[in-house]
Symmetry: D2
Subunit: 482 residues, 4 copies
């Protein structure tokens, strides 16, 4: 079971609310045996000790409970606990009433936020707190995507008009690739990372720590502790950065079909405890020292990868470029150099050598229960285009840090799970753990590729350009063609 001090992670957390914690693999809630020290007692009666003893909240009317909330005798964030998780829907309803009555939130506003027809007990203690409803994001389907010879229909949750249509156009062109298999994908690496910071008395000791870890005998000791925390966590490497007396340790491990931040946090915690025993003069600075790097731009993820590192490519025949994408190979190749390489270089970008990878990443992430805040690094992408000897378009996208899972996080929620199922990657395959998450990463990359191809085609054929061409091209003395 998950213990509390790990609960504190996933780069976001604080106190385990309500005293429940979640088994991140199954998505099931479990009562915490190791009670949260700062949390109030979970017993409804005790929580209601200011009120007449013997009263059980469930038996009260809505109005009575709202009164208690207004008087501060109970707190709105305790509602799920006090009413019982099976009454989460009622807790949501009561919170809405309370907020409308006693906070700056107007009744009119809250009325427009849907909450019915949704099972909030799925959410309680796992995905969100202080819940008042849900935000519906339209889901469209882009497809069919032909990827490594298989066909997928890709759900995308977005409010960005034309994104699904544009991606579909890209898929259409990619499905006609020369290989007959559509997009080809390769997986270069698969490993989540966590980069704690520790501190030694001085640089010499920092160096000693580094040397100790790099000794295979010691690495094996760490590995044993680390891997012992989960049947999926498999330590791959520890990248060590030293800054004066501070040491940054980037643990990298396989995490099965989970995105893996919680799994690796727990495992890293265990490994650090071993180090603290071996190095009495070592101090932990932070379980995350921004050396991971999670949810922030960094060269680290661009150079080293994080999560799944995927490359997709395809050769698109020139006539498909013409008919489906309404442009030509030369224009695309030139535009890609000028915009995605030169333009991004001019902007001082590290990892942003693409047109709009983040759009596709975010839409698929939202549809499939991923952590959308991780699109910061998951959208790292280099789009490349070349003209083949036959005059066709060779295109690739290189994405070193796609962070996805098919279990854990938001993937257990009904609707999110439904979209994973549409792609055939829900949950985990007992025989081949990790395969579903890897397949999802390939789909994300292929979807990015389609979106890139379509937008680049639109940009290459801006009517402004074509109008200009008609009028001015002839007069211009031999401009460079690339």
């Amino acid at each position: 079971m998950f213990n509390n001090n790990i609960w504190s992670f996933g780069n976001s957390a604080v106190n385990a609310p309500y005293g429940w914690s979640q088994n991140k693999r199954t998505g099931r809630r479990e009562k915490s045996t190791n009670s949260e020290p700062t949390a109030k007692s979970e017993a409804p009666c005790e929580a209601l000790k200011n009120i007449d003893s013997g009263v059980v909240l469930c038996d009260m009317s809505d109005g009575e409970i709202i009164d208690l909330l207004a008087e501060g005798k109970i707190m709105h964030y305790e509602l799920e606990k006090l009413l019982g998780i099976e009454n989460s829907d009622r807790a949501v309803k009561l919170r809405r009433m309370h907020f409308a009555a006693n906070t700056p939130i107007s009744a009119e506003a809250i009325e427009q936020l849907p909450h019915e027809h949704y099972d909030f007990s799925q959410v309680t203690g796992v995905c969100c707190e202080n819940v008042i409803g849900y935000m519906p994001i339209p889901v469209g389907v882009a497809g069919p995507l032909l990827l490594d010879g298989k066909t997928f229909m890709v759900p995308m949750a977005t409010v960005e008009g034309a994104l699904v249509a544009s991606t579909t156009r890209g898929f259409k062109a990619l499905a006609r690739s020369k290989s007959g298999q559509g997009v080809t994908s390769i997986l270069l690496s698969d490993g989540m990372t966590r980069g704690p910071a520790v501190q030694m008395p001085n640089a010499k000791r920092a160096g000693a720590l580094k040397q100790w870890i790099e000794d295979p005998v010691n690495f094996a000791k760490i590995e044993k502790e680390f891997n012992g925390t989960s049947r999926f966590a498999r330590l791959q490497e520890i990248k060590i950065g030293v800054a004066g007396r501070k040491v940054f340790l980037r643990f990298k491990c396989k995490t099965g079909d989970a995105m893996g931040m919680n799994m690796i946090s727990k495992a890293t915690d265990k490994a650090l405890k071993l180090l603290l025993v071996e190095f009495k003069d070592m101090e932990l600075v932070s379980l995350s020292g921004n050396y991971c790097t999670d949810k922030k731009p960094s060269a680290m993820n661009w150079l080293e990868g994080r999560g799944k590192s995927v490359v997709c490519d395809a050769v698109i025949p020139s006539d498909v470029v013409k008919k489906v994408l309404k442009t030509n190979v030369d224009k695309l190749v030139a535009l890609n150099i000028n915009k995605n390489l030169v333009g991004s270089a001019m902007s001082g970008s590290v990892g942003g050598f693409n047109a709009h990878a983040s759009n596709m990443v975010t839409a698929v992430f939202l549809a499939t229960g991923q952590d959308a805040a991780q699109n910061v690094e998951s959208s790292n992408c280099m789009t490349l285009m070349e003209k083949t000897a036959d005059g066709d378009l060779y295109m690739s996208v290189t994405m070193p840090s796609i962070e996805v899972g098919t279990i854990g996080g938001g993937t257990h929620l009904h609707a999110q799970k439904a979209c994973l199922s549409m792609l055939g990657v829900s949950g985990t395959q007992e025989k081949n753990p990790g395969a579903n998450a890897q397949q999802l990463a390939r789909i994300v990359a292929a979807t990015v590729m389609a979106g890139e191809l379509s937008l680049m085609s639109a940009l290459a054929e801006d009517t402004l350009v074509s109008d200009h061409m008609k009028h001015n091209r002839a007069k211009t003395p031999a401009p460079p063609t690339l």
Copy 2:
């Protein structure tokens, strides 16, 4: 009205689907007078010409329509057009049936994705295509936030457990700041950017273009064209980058309460047309040359800002740090240096000098109809902490590129609009256009600040650390205190 070649933008688009385009300011759909060249005719009868003439799709039974779809006589993406926008809900239902019957998507999977109780006519032609339902994201409320003396309850849409609770804890501490006004925010800059790339025959001409634009007389000409495209677009500056014969022009302008990408694309297009007249040897490379920079990491946005540049700060009394955050000022200050400055520097980050800004940005963005793909740069943030002479905690977050709007994009959808209303920033104020979007940006930054404060406190007090302290501290010879 929006014309088609602008439709192609917002960094995502391609063809205006269905022949409708959207008035981005009002969120209302308008029939495009300038029909999309690649789109098929919009008349249902013509679209049905393969079928018996006289038949109107609306009159058919679901089964009959599914048959037409299966036979390829009509395409699923035409359903809204063929049935009429007022029948969007039926179109969604039919598409689900069609996908379940005729694609790899299983009926079981699609069944779990909700679609009822939602008005899809709001979405059609504006926010999403090939729609099959919606993705419900739980919405929790963090608060109360005391910001510049005013109180807000902040809706956050997220599946990340503990995020809302943690942010609330941060708000609690910030509300007790020394000023009595909670968090103080300042707005340093407000301007959306678009960075097209153009090409001259050689560097000399590229230099001439730069010089021409920098001449105030010419700048005024450009400004006139630019501002003429909208009553909100107000050109502020054009940053010019030259790379050989290529010229990158970063237009920056106020965009009222809209996030502004569409507005500025249209205005930039107009400005470029003027330049094409003045410079006959200029070629447009791309309306977006990645010099904007949209949805990609870049030093550009970090150094120059994009959207709203906001700084928030507060002095949190040491006893509040102790009681609410369960840690102390020295630990927080040291951790912030080691993790958010040194750690991020060690990872080669540009703009990622924070713990998890992206979490809060994404959750508020999703709740309020923002473009979540823009969190890549909107999450740029430097968190700083210092100890004051009185021993209290001085804390600030600096966020140079928060891209938000309260009109346009997904902000017109009922639920999203509801969350904007909860914050009192829905739509635009006639007397003070731009004020709502600016207020929203301040709220985003303050929410980030709360999340940063709470997570940093949790990290500073990792039980691992405290256990270690008890056992080892005494033996360690005078370690540096910072």
Copy 3:
């Protein structure tokens, strides 16, 4: 005259040694009227107070002085002061003897370092301290360079074999450019920068400072103070960065023919004093807040420029590429994309989109008395190559931050001045101050261009490649040609 607290700058300094300071424009030493507080008195007699009064060091024999040094009665760093600047050569000789006798430096080693035939009085109090001789760096001449229709022979000081020969080959090809004028250069910007950091009590006041400075009325006040410090310093702009309560101010100004760091430091100091009067709650953090950015890699200089921003380009006929460079246009263009754009992007480079700009920059800097430590940013360069419609090679180098001067620094030394004279850019032209330094910057960029062209040609034709081609090309199925 230069006062002492400015002396402390140029990003290197500390105490003005010996009590002399230098008029940086003329390179002449001047006795400091504002004596260095930490320096000992300059009077030889007082310095010798431990010795018999009445003794003057000049009258002593070498052996006697060495004895005094060995006994610690005088310090070796005082020798120039005690003997008089006109006896600098003797001071150098004595220091060598002293070091050989009394430090780990062996007599054999020091013997091999030349010191004769050099006028060290030029150096004393200006360029170097504790002098024991000079380091001879071989100077070769690359050329002729045809630049904007004029011919130059470019001196390069280097120990890197083949660099001069390779650059000469590049010049040979460039001289045959289609324009008939060789390389064309343009100057996009000319301004040195200094970026102090100041601190306000909070963000609100930081914002107020920013707003105050941006008010044209106030800017004019600052400008007046700033420009009043020198007849060359002309304030162009102040870029303001805010991080919480800290404010970074990047002053940019013209500096005539000086590289300008000292000039701008002095002027910035004056401007800051004005601000300190206006803002009583402002604290100076540092006259240099690394926002300049001097001698460090940064996106700042890449995006904003520093010193001279120069672009050079040329069209090299395809037959010249063949005959002089022994390669062809297609290979060069492809190599440039793969190495200088993709390769540098893969390495996470900001500003390093070139093959070896630093080689040429450093060699010309060393030959012309520039500050070689500034090659860190002066070498920022993007090399671009394209094939023209006629099949020729269009090439450009874009260098935004070349920091050079023709007065001040090491430019007054005989040999360094000689090399400046060879280029016709020694000193300043009264009628056109700044023109010499700008011309030098253009020459640096053109020399970089030649070096880039030649090395890229060598790389494109690696025999490894050609051998491989012969054996494998035919068998490979239609590879992309780019």
Copy 4:
């Protein structure tokens, strides 16, 4: 012996001039057996075939030779070859005469550039071409440096006034560190890198190449080829980056006491040849694909290291800070955070978290025959300062990519070798190859540390600050102390 196509490297070269190549380890020239294809015949008689047969150039008078040069019958770059290497001094003299007579270089200018008293035969065919003299750079000595308990006097070649004096002040403070051993240094890594780019037909094959290399059996094959090229080259690792179908291979190896670029280029070339045999569809793009990364800013070197990775630290007692550095610990610590961490972060720096490391690096590099163009990455440095529990100053510098050698390059020249000898690190120790270069790297880092400490102290005590303090401090309400 070195063959020609390797000669072409060191990131600078082209054709081996004169037909000689250099044994980089010994610095001795050797006649190339593999004659340069593009070079003219080396035989003086043949070169003089336009002239009367039988004439030998050596027998001619200066005037006669100048005439031949003026008439173009012989070329100035052939002089050393035609006259014989032993007459290099005469060749230099003749070239000066020729340039003064026949090029834009004036006689007056060339006259001021020294050339006498120098043995140019050392330079010919090794270090420089088209030689006309040498550039004398003043050499000062900073010291004594107490490093790991040993004392060094550090020669620095510079024209930057106060640099040597300032560094000496830093050394003075560091010598009084608490450990009694002065500065402590640790070496984290030692390995030069070369990052060629190759190209496969598609991403799948790129992935196959990566996988093949990562197989230990195959790695051993590569290692054998690689190591076989030199008795020092010892392959450590190959970091593999994939971008679409392009593969970047960063070979890292020990290079004994050589800086190692030539050694590793030769070894990499051999390894690539093996790969070309194994992968018939592989194409070499470039022996250097900018993935090395040499002489360019990059996150690669900052994160991965290049050459020697060194950390230095020391605890400086607070009274030493006061007496020697004239400031206090709190000011230094605060300044370091604000300038070297926050300021550099605000400038978008990767690797430039220091005040002026490049100054010290460049001066020591120039004094010891290093490649000064490599200071771009060798100056990567993070300076950290903390206050210890005892109130003293803990300081460190972290420099991951110091590229130095004590053999090869310019280290064999008399004066440069002399400076290496002063440090006790000239040449190589047979028993411990690599130790000298490592020691030099430690000295470079310690010298940087001293320069950092001294300049930071000067900045912390700017009189501007102190004046301001006197007048304003009292009135300011409790500002943050850090």
